[in-house]
Symmetry: C2
Subunit: 217 residues, 2 copies
DNA sequence: AATTGCCGGATTGTCGGACAATTATTGTCG
DNA sequence: CGACAATAATTGTCCGACAATCCGGCAATT
């Protein structure tokens, strides 16, 4: 077998959905903004039916909201939604942290942390946010359960929408990183109680930060 | 406001998806079985594009699996999948049970239990299974978080696929009901540790039962 | 002034047909 | 029997069409 460049086997629908997803995460499309089928079809030079399928994919992911006969709009999260997301994340990530203190292999978490530290130094808001959320996902991944990881991903995806709309990256990235390092240290030490408290405090602070920004916007 | 009969505002796509969902849960379509677009379009007397949308909805729900250029098939769960589902349910439902022992209002769980007892007596396998899963969902609902409930629903939906394929309802329904009652009692008493153990034992037994049936099929 | 009724443009939901690309099946030949 | 070419079935994508629905404005009514 020679090494060949792998050919793109994705469907047009997937590529359109991917392009839209990027636009959503980067904040090009504001929450509440409607996505018109014909307009998108023209822009991407694809058929309307293809756009419709892509919109449905993103709707299933929770990024778009569809109302009958009114089309798709960028999902706008209420404060209540944000509260629920963080609460749900706490449930999933706590379970992950318990697995971590109970002896699960922590190296993926370590890797995610250093990636985050690197990204935070690089000053790119989108990339840093992504790396940050990646770290939290790696906590859930400690459970070794792909379905729970998928649930966690769905939660963070929704969150990225809200984060994108208020583009400013938190300037205290260094503090963030050290908070995560603290959590990791506690897990390494096997101190479940302290690790859970650290996690809860961290998520609580993050939730406040997000809530206040969304309210401001 | 007078009470008016609520008008059906569902789209054709939704109705097709609903019909297929019923067929999936009742076991009319076996796991692995392919769903042909034109064939379905003819059967339902709708356009192929409508069928495609319905298929995509069910795919997003995890009930169908799509492979490029090969169409949609009924999702077939491996033993590993089943193990993951039960593990994930344990995580979510444990969190619910903790909330329950910590003082959350248990009346929805009580209601779900009596509904299950009733359904178990009525001997209808599909209905009884539904009521059973409903009880477990009500545990997660104790957390008061709609997103976690949605995740739990997704998990149980997948399970129903596997259950439907082996239609026989467990004959020990009465034992099942009393196991659930035991769990509820422990929660009422606020005995978190015992309640969690009861839950874990129950899920473990159920997992074995499902696994063995799937293996047999 | 507020409500109601109606009109017209914009948009979505659904349909039917078309065709290339891909996959599955069949038949043939060595 | 296996490789291989011809054939059929199926999906992915496109196009055009039309009814149903939504939305804003404007006139008529109370």
């Amino acid at each position: 077998m020679v090494d060949v460049p792998d050919i793109d086997r994705s469907s047009t629908t997937d590529r359109v959905a991917g392009a839209l997803r990027e636009m959503l995460f980067s904040g090009d499309l504001a929450p509440g903004e409607p996505l018109r089928e014909v307009s998108l079809a023209d822009s991407f030079h694809v058929a309307r039916s293809t756009v419709r399928e892509a919109l449905q994919v993103l709707t299933a992911e929770g990024l778009l909201t569809r109302e009958p006969n009114k089309g798709a709009t960028v999902t706008a999260l209420s404060e209540h939604d944000i509260a629920e997301i963080f609460e749900a994340r706490l449930v999933l990530e706590s379970a992950g942290v318990r697995a971590g203190t109970a002896g699960a292999d922590l190296s993926p978490v370590t890797a995610a942390l250093s990636a985050y530290a690197e990204a935070a130094a690089a000053e790119d808001a989108v990339v840093a946010t992504h790396a940050h959320l990646e770290f939290h996902t790696s906590l859930v991944a400690l459970l070794g359960n792909s379905r729970l990881v998928a649930s966690a991903d769905a939660l963070t995806a929704d969150l990225r929408l809200a984060l994108a709309s208020v583009e400013r990256q938190r300037r205290n990235a260094r503090q963030q990183v050290s908070a995560h390092r603290r959590l990791l240290t506690l897990m390494r030490a096997g101190d479940e109680h302290a690790a859970l408290e650290e996690l809860q405090a961290h998520l609580g602070a993050a939730r406040l930060s997000v809530t206040e920004r969304v309210r401001g916007a």
